[in-house]
């Protein structure tokens, strides 16, 4: 009699689990996409920004926006080939935990019956989530994850719309080659990377690419992004005197680097930030007085008033009060590419969506990002993804490279601080 209560408790818990089962049943009309990001935990800021970006993207796809007509699906309401069906997103928070990402993918597929998936920011979570998607045969668009081998595992259902570490590394080397042609001195570079999946992947790629193109890496400094003090790193750089320092850093640490360089009076000819921290909206206000001329990688450029990108940024700004950052913008672009494929598939059948994704061929003028297009190779990687280099001039980044796209002149060497 006493222990039978145990069973009651078990049943109670089981019933509680049962409670959060089905989202209200609807007609099969809307297209469902499940999206997972870290909305809590250490990477929450990135996930939250991407969440807002997706909401803007949904507005653009689901409602008529003739002013953005160069983007596919913007001018129309919903997906025309599916009778104007709207896209419905189920957003979940994997908290940066790979096993949570696995469980949530299972839920999105089996409970929410999503037609396609997108995520997951941290490479660890993309690894486990894509494996589940592959098992169930649901297309998974990796919006933004650094690790190289997320694609290329022989998976059929995984696509990645964003450029990857080796693309960035090649971009930097091409940029250096351009500079050398103009007679600037790039005798050695330094690579400073935070030591989780992102920093390590990009740092490794840059080091490998530099070796190949014959640019000496004077020093490679991996560090922990939660460091409260970075003077040891800055002192090491100061000793080696590289011509360019590339920082692959998150937010707090990149701000700390700029401030510490000022404090220790170290001003290399050029600093290049690898997106992420340098693109965080809190970066410019915090360091614009000490990091003048610092460069940053970005495939996103707000552009001139009246341009499509400018209008998208205005929409995002109205929602969040901040400018759209590169990471969120790339996620947004990935969602556009996914929606375009679903529309071309003309069906919510996963197999048809997958085939349409594989046939994707978006041209540069159909994109909000500075890619040369969106086209996936057999591993699912976007081979036309590319990136710009931008430079902090005043209180804003200006597009300075490649010159064909540039709207401002490269300032070299960087000014850093004036007073």
């Amino acid at each position: 009699m006493t222990r039978s209560s145990v069973l009651l408790a078990v049943c109670g818990v089981a019933a509680a689990m049962f409670g959060f089962a089905a989202p209200a049943a609807r007609t099969a009309e809307p297209v469902r996409i499940g999206i997972m990001w870290p909305l809590t935990g250490n990477a929450a800021a990135a996930g939250q920004a991407s969440k807002a970006a997706v909401e803007v993207a949904l507005d653009i796809i689901n409602n008529a926006h003739p002013e953005l007509a160069n983007l596919p699906l913007a001018a129309t309401t919903g997906l025309p080939n599916l009778g104007g069906a709207k896209i419905e997103v189920t957003l979940v928070d994997h908290q940066g935990d790979p096993s949570m990402a696995q469980q949530l993918t299972t839920r999105l597929v089996t409970q929410d019956k999503v037609n396609a998936l997108m995520g997951a920011y941290q490479s660890s979570c993309s690894f486990t989530a894509t494996a589940v998607a592959e098992r169930y045969g649901v297309p998974f668009m990796v919006g933004e994850s650094a690790a190289l081998n997320i694609t290329g595992r022989g998976f059929k259902w995984v696509f990645r719309g964003t450029p990857i570490a080796s693309d960035y590394a090649r971009t930097y080397m091409r940029f250096f080659a351009d500079l050398k042609k103009q007679g600037r001195k790039i005798d050695s570079i330094a690579v400073v990377n935070e030591n989780t999946d992102y920093g390590t992947s990009v740092g490794d790629a840059i080091e490998a690419e530099a070796k190949q193109t014959g640019v000496p890496v004077a020093i490679r400094i991996p560090y922990s992004a939660s460091s409260t003090d970075v003077s040891a790193q800055v002192l090491q750089l100061k000793q080696k005197q590289p011509d360019v320092v590339i920082f692959i850093s998150y937010t707090a640490d990149s701000i700390l680097y700029m401030k510490t360089m000022r404090n220790l009076d170290y001003r290399p000819p050029m600093v290049i930030g690898d997106d992420t921290g340098f693109s965080d909206p809190s970066f410019i206000p915090a360091v614009s007085d000490v990091a003048q001329g610092a460069m940053n990688r970005s495939a996103w450029d707000i552009g001139k008033p009246g341009s499509t990108t400018y209008k998208i940024n205005e929409m995002y700004k109205a929602k969040t009060g901040r400018d759209l950052d590169d990471t969120s913008a790339r996620n947004m672009q990935s969602l556009f590419a996914l929606a375009d494929a679903i529309n071309r598939a003309g069906s919510t059948d996963p197999e048809k969506i997958r085939d349409a994704l594989a046939k994707t061929d978006l041209k540069p003028d159909q994109l909000m990002m500075g890619y040369q297009g969106v086209k996936f190779d057999e591993t699912g990687q976007n081979i036309l993804a590319a990136t710009y280099l931008i430079q902090l001039q005043g209180k804003q980044y200006q597009l300075v490279w490649p010159e064909t796209a540039a709207n401002a002149k490269l300032q070299w060497p960087m000014a850093g601080w004036t007073q």
Binding site: I221, P222, L235, Q236, N263
Partner: protein, 285 residues
């Protein structure tokens, strides 16, 4: 010259470690209580500073005192509603309660202030002093000096004042203290207020040099534990020395061995120290 810069940088860093550890050691030593939410107190101190600067403006003195006051009050409230009840419970209940508290505080801040990174606007303590090629960032010098003054004040309070004697009496034996007319509850509430208040000042000063988001407490929490254990639980002076030593070790090993190994060196030394001298540098055996 580089060596001098490394040493000076290490000491300045260490002073900041000491600053946010001094409150932790008070609780740990007095009540044999691990507070896993101490880093969150520091984080809240940073946000209080931000609110004050944005809301009414003012220099470090203003927002430092505001943060200390706000966190003092919070410390007392947390003591009254939570800590008092788990203080005499098993050690595991203490751990459980402050883990839960840490999550609660971190995500309460998350809820109010969002996950975005923020920095203190204005340049309250910017600039650098150049001592013949050795650079001293003003913010760190101020934080370091305040840390040392605060630690000494705390030490003075504990050893030279009536309140200090009461605190120590309660720490020694709460029942005997009660017989002497001391109300242990009040004294312990005061200790929690002081501990959280010190963390609040630490947070306010760190905010002048360091951008943060609600999860910053984690970063500071772990270092604080090592500093406190290194210095000897409950020894305020010990945590000052330990903070300086750890800062120095981190700076030196970071510069000569490689930055990723600086924490490895600290943890390894810490384990070795625990083995050889479990009571810490200044702790009583």
């Amino acid at each position: 010259m580089v060596i001098m810069q490394v040493i000076v940088g290490g000491l300045l860093l260490g002073a900041i470690y000491a600053l946010f550890s001094s409150g932790l050691t008070l609780i740990w030593g007095m009540m044999n209580f691990i507070n896993f939410a101490h880093g969150e107190f520091v984080m809240l101190g940073m946000y209080v500073a931000l609110l004050v600067v944005v809301g009414i403006g003012g220099g470090p003195a203003v927002f430092g005192i505001a943060a200390a006051g706000a966190l003092f009050a919070l410390g007392v409230v947390i003591y009254a509603f939570l800590i008092r009840h788990v203080l005499r419970g098993p050690m595991i209940a203490q751990i459980l309660s402050t883990f839960g508290l840490a999550l609660l505080l971190r995500y309460a801040a998350f809820w109010f202030f969002s996950a975005n990174f923020v920095s203190l606007p204005g340049n309250a303590l910017s600039g650098t002093i150049d001592l013949g090629g050795i650079f001293l960032p003003v913010a760190q010098v101020v934080a370091g000096s305040v840390a040392i003054v605060l630690t000494l004040l705390l030490q003075f309070l504990l050893t030279r004042t009536l309140i200090g004697s009461m605190l120590l009496a309660v720490a020694e034996d709460p029942d005997a203290a009660t017989l002497m007319g001391i109300r242990p509850d009040r004294i312990q509430a005061l200790a929690w207020g002081l501990s959280a208040g010190a963390a609040g000042i630490a947070g306010a000063l760190l905010a002048t040099a360091y951008p943060w988001s609600p999860s910053v407490g984690e970063t500071f929490g772990l270092i604080a534990f090592v500093v406190v254990a290194f210095g000897g639980f409950g020894s305020v002076l010990g945590s000052l020395y330990a903070g300086l030593i750890i800062g120095l070790i981190q700076a030196a090993s970071g510069f000569w061995l490689g930055v990723i190994y600086k924490d490895v060196v600290v943890y390894a030394l810490f384990v070795a120290l625990l083995w050889l001298r479990p009571q810490g540098l200044m702790g009583k055996a």
